[in-house]
């Protein structure tokens, strides 16, 4: 996947030179290993900063909201689905975009790798399916498959769903993936155990709102947690306030979340809040057969009415 970058740079330069776009949104190398950061390139010099490897897990659709320029955006499978959602929700026009599609083989989980080594990791490089981790006094070659973020390991839409250019041949989609094993496990718990489970899951949360800021769906001009008139939710670290924030944020993503994993990736304390959005994703699929961001033609289930909509829950 790291060999895509030459083609990405070539496409970015060409689009900028032909004035088809004003800017290109991609990734550049971060200041620490495994932390590539989103960047905007407007000139050929800036294009040279672009990188592509298995550390580009942040969702670039997040940077398109309400933009007025003509934009080229580099899109993995999940990014492209969120771009579709953005277009459906009128946050950007399709005509403004040139989508550089990147078939993805998954992003690596920096927490997994950090947990494997004692000392500080200085450098992480990759060849086709291997990741080489170097630090002070150690060097180890690892299999990339073992290091994927959980959402990437369970991903069934690795190829972009919309694109104007494709950087390489499409990759094979994963088949027979059991996406919801963890959710079923929680569903089978008793109410008390569920309560306890989420209490413990969310206990480390410091309410920095990084998950919200990294999420391409969270584009409200004023988020409900920031409002003070009326104040919907307490702003303290009190466990119920923390839970309310996470549960409500998840609800706002119902039928829209593509499980891109940007929230979990950006969390400084490593909370897997995807469990909440994934439950809603599972319900949407079970009840409406809906997967978010797959088509520009179909309206999402939560903004359409069909006589066949399930309503057994109403007595």
């Amino acid at each position: 996947m790291s060999n895509y970058i030459d083609k990405i740079k070539e496409a970015a330069n060409r689009l900028l030179q032909d004035c088809r776009v004003d800017l290109v949104i991609g990734f550049r190398k971060g200041t620490v290993p495994m932390m590539n950061e989103p960047c905007i390139a407007k000139t050929p010099q800036e294009v040279q900063n672009l990188v592509w490897d298995s550390n580009c897990g942040i969702n670039l659709a997040n940077y398109l909201t309400n933009r007025k320029e003509k934009i080229a955006v580099i899109a993995k499978g999940c990014d492209s689905r969120n771009i579709v959602t953005h277009i459906i929700e009128n946050k950007i026009k399709r005509e403004q975009l040139v989508i550089i599609g990147v078939p993805c083989t998954g992003m690596i989980d920096k927490r997994k790798i950090n947990a494997m080594f004692e000392g500080e990791i200085r450098e992480v490089t990759e060849a086709e399916n291997n990741i080489t981790v170097r630090g002070n006094g150690f060097e180890k070659v690892l299999d990339k498959k073992e290091l994927l973020q959980q959402n990437c390991a369970l991903c069934i839409h690795r190829n972009p769903v919309i694109y104007d250019e494709l950087i390489s041949e499409k990759v094979a989609e994963q088949k027979d993936v059991d996406r919801y094993e963890d959710i079923r496990e929680i569903e089978s718990m008793s109410p008390e155990d569920k309560e306890k489970y989420f209490d413990e899951l969310l206990a480390p949360c410091i309410r920095c709102y990084a998950c919200r800021n990294a999420c391409p769906l969270c584009y409200c001009p004023t988020c409900f947690v920031d409002e003070s008139r009326p104040q919907w939710v307490g702003k303290s670290q009190e466990p119920n306030d923390v839970k309310t924030f996470h549960f409500l944020r998840a609800y706002h993503c119902a039928g829209r979340c593509t499980d891109c994993g940007a929230c979990e990736r950006s969390c400084p304390v490593g909370i897997n809040m995807r469990l909440l959005t994934k439950k809603l994703e599972k319900d949407c699929f079970d009840l409406f057969g809906w997967e978010a961001g797959m088509s520009l033609e179909v309206r999402p289930p939560l903004d359409t009415y069909k006589p066949s909509d399930p309503n057994d829950f109403i007595k």
């Binding site: 989420f198 009190e238 109403i314």
Partner: protein
Amino acid sequence: MELMGMEHGRLQFSWVSSAESTKFVEVVKAVTAAIKTLGPNTNFAKINAEVA
């Protein structure tokens, strides 16, 4: 909601027309009875600091 630890039956939905007053009364009675058997909600209940 049930995934978060809300007991089954604490959250209920009904369609009641503004003209269906008898149905409304029935629904309210049924819901009240159901919730009373469940007892007070402890999940999501904020515990206020005790003041001496």
